[in-house]
C-alpha cells in the first residue's frame, strides 16, 4: 500500500518546539512500518551496553578526566554523524521512500544554556542521560524506572511552567 501524503506544517511547528529530534517526514504509514526503527534501537542499545556507556562508573570517570573511553565514543560518534550528514546533503540522498531528507535549523535561546547546565547536573548525578536510562531498564535494573518516571515528571513540570522561564 502506498503511504499517503498529509499536510502537517502547523503540526510540525508544534511538535518541533524545544526539540531537535522529530519526524520531518510528510508521509504517513501503517503502524508496523515503525518496526524498522525498533531494529535500529536494538543495535543502538547493544552498543550502549557493550561499550559500557550506560555504566554510572564510566560517566564518573569521564567527568573526572580519568578515562578517554567516553570522549572517544562521543567524539567518534559525532565525526561519523558529521560525515554522514555531509554525504546526505552533498549527494541529496533521499529516504527509502524517495522523500527528500530535510534539516530545519535550530534557533539559539537561553534555554540551551540554563537547561543544558541543569541537564549536566542530572547527567553526572544519575550517571545516565535519557538513552542509557532505557538501556539500563532493559538490562534488568528495575529501580531505574523510578529515575525515568522522575525524568517524565521533570519534563511535565517544564512544559507546565515553560512560559515563566527565561528563553
Amino acid at each position: 500500500m502506498q503511504p499517503s501524503l498529509i499536510d502537517n506544517t502547523a503540526g510540525l511547528e508544534a511538535r518541533s518546539q524545544d526539540t531537535i529530534c522529530i519526524n520531518e517526514s510528510h508521509l504517513q504509514h501503517k503502524w508496523y512500518h515503525n518496526f524498522k526503527y525498533l531494529i535500529v534501537g536494538v543495535l543502538f542499545g547493544l552498543a550502549f551496553v557493550k561499550a559500557e556507556v550506560i555504566s554510572w562508573f564510566r560517566i564518573q570517570e569521564m567527568f573526572r578526566l580519568q578515562s578517554f573511553h567516553m570522549y572517544g565514543i562521543i567524539g567518534s560518534a559525532v565525526v561519523t554523524g558529521i560525515i554522514s550528514v555531509w554525504l546526505i546533503r552533498r549527494f541529496r540522498i533521499k529516504t527509502i521512500y524517495g522523500e527528500p531528507i530535510t534539516f530545519t535549523p535550530k534557533k539559539f535561546n537561553k534555554g540551551q544554556v540554563y537547561g543544558g547546565f541543569l541537564f549536566g547536573l542530572g547527567w553526572a548525578l544519575t550517571g545516565a542521560c535519557p538513552g542509557p536510562l532505557f538501556a539500563q531498564i532493559g538490562t534488568g535494573a528495575a529501580v531505574v524506572t523510578v529515575v525515568l518516571a522522575s525524568a517524565v515528571a521533570g519534563t511535565w513540570v517544564y512544559g507546565r511552567f515553560r512560559d515563566l522561564l527565561p528563553h
Partner: protein, 187 residues
C-alpha cells in the same frame, strides 16, 4: 566470534555505531535522532492536562517510541546473551574515591549500593534517583534536547546552538561530579 563480542566493546567500534544511527534514521524516513523527546511524548499521550506544550499530534512521533523500545530490547539482549564474564574495570583513582564513601561494589553498570529500592528510602538515594531524574527530564527539555539530540544529532548537522548546549551539559556534569556529588555521597 561470540567470545569477542562478549568482551567490552572499544570506543572506536561503539562510537561509529552510535553515530551511524543518525543517517540510519534519516534514510529510513527523515527522522531526526533524539531520545529525550520521548519523555515529552509520554506526557502528551498520558497526561497532557491543559498544558499547551503537550498539545500536539504525538502519534506522528510514535516511531521514536518504537526506537526506545528497541533500546530496552537491545539492553536486555546484551545483558542476557552477551554478558561479559569478567568484572568491570574501573579507574583505580575512582575506586579509591568511592571507597571513602563506602561504595566498593563495582560489579554492575548501575551501582547497587546507590541504586536500589532500599536506598530510595534514604536522603542520598532520593536525591540521586528522584532528584537526578527530575534534572535530566527538566533540563533536557529546557535545553531542547539531550546528549543524543544536541550532542550527536545537532552537532552532526553543524547546528551551533547544539554546541552551546553540549558545552553547558559538560559544565554541569563537571560541577556535579567533582564538587556536589562528593558532598551527597558523604551523607
Amino acid at each position: 566470534m561470540l567470545e569477542v563480542i562478549k568482551q567490552p566493546w572499544p570506543w572506536y567500534v561503539a562510537g561509529p555505531m552510535i553515530g551511524l544511527t543518525v543517517p540510519a534514521l534519516l534514510i529510513l524516513g527523515n527522522k531526526h535522532f533524539g531520545i529525550s523527546a520521548n519523555l515529552r511524548h509520554v506526557c502528551a499521550s498520558c497526561f497532557p492536562g491543559n498544558v499547551p506544550f503537550f498539545q500536539y499530534d504525538y502519534k506522528r512521533e510514535i516511531w521514536n517510541l518504537f526506537f526506545v523500545a528497541g533500546i530496552v530490547l537491545g539492553g536486555a539482549l546484551a545483558a542476557y546473551f552477551l554478558v561479559n564474564p569478567a568484572p568491570i574495570q574501573i579507574d583505580p583513582r575512582l575506586a579509591q574515591e568511592l571507597a571513602t564513601y563506602g561504595i566498593n561494589d563495582f560489579s554492575g553498570m548501575v551501582p547497587t549500593q546507590l541504586y536500589s529500592w532500599d536506598s530510595l528510602l534514604t536522603a542520598r538515594g532520593l536525591i540521586m534517583m528522584v532528584g537526578g531524574g527530575f534534572l535530566v527530564g527538566f533540563g533536557s527539555r529546557y535545553a531542547g534536547g539531550c546528549t543524543s539530540g544536541h550532542s550527536i544529532m545537532g552537532l552532526s548537522a553543524l547546528q551551533w546552538p547544539s554546541l552551546v548546549a553540549t558545552c553547558c551539559f559538560i559544565a554541569g556534569g563537571f560541577l556535579m561530579a567533582n564538587f556536589i556529588l562528593p558532598i551527597i555521597l558523604n551523607n
